[in-house]
Each structure stands twice: as C-alpha cells, then as structure tokens.
C-alpha cells in the first residue's frame, strides 16, 4: 500500500517536473482568458444593446461571439500544454460539424418555444413581454411590472397566445340595454364611435354592431372592430368610455343583472275534517303566497 502511494507521488512529481511550467502557463492563460472574456463580453453587450434593437438577434450575436472567444481561449491553453494544434483544430471542426448535423436532423423533432424575445404573449393566465429564454425557463415581464420566471415545460404543456404573429386584434365590447326601443339608436351610436376613432381599422373587417341576444330581461348589444395590437387596450377603454357617456347623454338605459326574489309567507294549513283539503274559510286561504321582484337594475 505504501509502495503504491509512493509510486503515485513519484509519478506526479515527475509529471510536474516535466510539464509543470506548461501546466502553470496553461492555467494562467485559462484563468486570465476567462476573466478577460467576462470583461470583453460586458463591453460588447453594451455596444450591441445600443446598436441592435432586435433583442433576439442581439442575443444570438452575443452567444456566437462568446462561443468563438471561449474556443480560442481553451485552444490556446491546450496548445501551451503541448497538444498538437492540428489535432485540436481537427477536433474542433469535427465537433462543430457533428453538432450542426445533429441539430439539422433533430430540429423538427425538438420542442421549440412558440415565441421569441420581445414578443407579447399570453401563457396560461399570464400576459406580458418575453425578456429572455434559457434551456430551463423563460423570463416574462408582465404589464403590471412583475418579472415572472416560467418553466419551459409548463409553456410547452400550456396554451400560448402569441400576439406577435398578427398585427391586429378584434376588439369586442358587449353592452346590455334595457329597452328594445333603444336598439337602433344604440347600434348607430356604437358604430359611429368606432368608425370615427382613428385607431379603428377597416381591414380585415369594418366595425360592426350586433344585437346578440335577449337574456335576463336585457338586450345585449355587441360592438366588434379591429385595432392594432399595440393600441388594443387603450382603444378598448376609450371606446367603452365614449359609448357609455354617449348613451347616458341620449338617455339610453343600461341594463344590469336582474334578480328575482320570491318571498313565500305561509301559515300552517288548518285542515278541516279528514279529507286533507284546507278549510276555505281558514287563514291560509285568506293569505295567499305573494312574490316580489327586486328591480334595482339600473346602472
């Protein structure tokens, strides 16, 4: 046992004596190179962020530069250590070709995220802008300022709405009104408000108003129009505000949810005889059940 340890120590001593200087040089190159790489990448990132607006493209360029510089540092360290430079380059080229070939073959079968950095997407119940993606998770900034890290596995298993693919969205505003006599006036004012808004588009479809249904004692009117994705939310708020103020001005009564409450006031039945029928002159017959409907449905 002691002999084995002594032999190992002797072997290590020999290696250090023979290649110690090269190993130290290689280590220095590696450590200094990696520190320099960090510094240089920070500078390059600052430059790219200023000059390239497309985040996805900027990240791709950064990754490529990082990998190239990393390969140069490792190769320099290996050459210093005494490895044959031709073999190293062959190995690098072989590795790169193998990776490209595997990616090309497997790409159709690899699950990919259905968005890119900078897209506005809805994942499950989360709506926001994608800030970054890694192999494990995706960083999203929601519109109320929260940064959410979503596991990629969840994204791949959940439904995702990507608002980037289509430039416009259909805006939908449903308004319940009380009286049938107001249908035409409501339709006209809703359509006019949509048409006169500069943000409302005429394609893929013109603004239109439908009488949707008659439920719970109210007529439901539906306004539909198309607006650009980026202007969707504010346009929706503005149009709703204009419709409501205009309806108020024109005395069109909005309908709220109607709720019927039936109150039953009954006294115990007083049976006469044994026939099971109430006595016509009893208190129960004189106090029939009554109903009341709450009607506080005006907004």
């Amino acid at each position: 046992m002691q002999n084995e340890l002594a032999a190992k120590a002797e072997r290590i001593g020999f290696v250090l004596k023979e290649f110690g200087a090269e190993m130290v040089q290689a280590m220095v190159i590696l450590v200094v190179g990696l520190l320099l790489l960090q510094f240089v990448m920070r500078k390059i990132k600052g430059f790219i962020d200023k000059n390239i607006q497309d985040r996805h493209r900027a990240n791709t360029i950064l990754y490529i530069i990082y990998i190239l510089l990393l390969v140069i540092i490792i190769t320099s360290a290996l050459i210093t250590l005494g490895f044959d430079s031709r073999n190293i380059f062959r190995l690098i080229i072989l590795g790169a070709l193998a990776i490209i070939a595997i990616m090309l073959v497997l790409r159709p079968y690899l699950p990919t995220l259905p968005f890119k950095v900078g897209n506005t997407v809805k994942v499950g119940s989360l709506l926001g802008k994608i800030e970054a993606t890694t192999l494990v998770n995706t960083r999203m900034k929601t519109f109320d300022g929260k940064t959410v890290f979503i596991p990629n596995s969840k994204i791949l298993n959940d439904f995702v709405i990507n608002y980037h693919y289509t430039p416009s969205r259909r805006l939908k505003i449903d308004i319940p009104i009380r009286h049938v006599r107001d249908i035409l006036r409501t339709k006209q004012l809703m359509e006019a408000i949509m048409i006169e808004d500069p943000r409302v588009l005429l394609k893929p479809a013109r603004p239109v108003v439908y009488t949707l249904n008659l439920v719970d004692g109210c007529v439901k009117m539906g306004a539909r129009c198309w607006v650009e994705n980026t202007k969707f939310w504010l346009t929706q708020c503005d149009i709703l505000e204009k419709i409501l103020t205009r309806m108020e001005r024109e005395n069109i009564i909005l309908a709220g949810r109607r709720q019927a409450i039936r109150l039953f006031h009954e006294t115990p039945l007083q049976l006469s005889g044994g026939d099971g029928h109430p006595d016509p002159g009893s208190q129960a017959a004189e106090n029939p059940s009554f109903s009341a409907v709450s009607d506080d449905d005006e907004i």
């Binding site: 048409i195 006169e196 808004d197 500069p198 943000r199 013109r206 503005d238 204009k242 103020t245 001005r249």
Partner: protein, 104 residues
C-alpha cells in the same frame, strides 16, 4: 351599384375619421397671447381624443384663470382640434367645449 361603390359613398360622406388630435390653447408670452399646440405641429398628433381631452383638462386645472392682469405662461381657451385645426366636439357632451375660456 356595386357594394364597393356603396361603401365608398358611405366612407366619403357619413363619418370622417380624423387622423389625429392636438390640444390648442392661447399662451401668454410677454405682452401678448400666442396660439400654441400640444403636441406641437412638428410632432405627430395624438390618436386618442379621450387622451387629448384629458390633457386639455389637466392643463386647464394646472393653470386656472386668475383675477387681474394676465401673467407670463397663463393658458386660456384650451380645446381640442383635429389634424386640420378644426375644433373637435367634446365626446362627453357632444358639443364644442373650451376650458379656461377667456376673451382675449
């Protein structure tokens, strides 16, 4: 008449779609009133009349009318105009509206 021709007549004659909105006002500069706009005429107009009217109202409450001689920076007769400088009806009342009205 083709449906496209009918739609063209409607588009041209029923409701015109403004291209944008600006707040128009008179601002005291030295000893005279000058007409000013926000956003200024070199910048793109706002695409929301609701936002533009809101801006007009905020400007009016930030520079209320004062008794006595007008002072530098006072803003009066604040209203909203379209891209051709035509006054726009206030959507809340359906009529022409001017904040901080003042004969100048």
């Amino acid at each position: 008449m083709k449906i496209t021709d009918a739609i063209k007549i409607i588009d041209d004659n029923w409701i015109t779609k403004p291209k944008g909105f600006r707040v128009c006002m008179q601002r005291r500069e030295g000893s005279e009133w000058v007409i000013d706009y926000t956003p200024d005429e070199k910048a793109a107009p706002l695409d929301s009349d609701v936002t533009t009217w809101r801006t007009a109202w905020k400007l009016s409450v930030s520079t209320p009318l004062r008794d006595g001689a007008p002072q530098e920076g006072d803003l009066v007769n604040i209203f909203v105009v379209d891209q051709d400088n035509n006054p726009v009806d206030y959507y809340a009342t359906g009529e022409k509206e001017t904040f901080n009205p003042c004969p100048v």
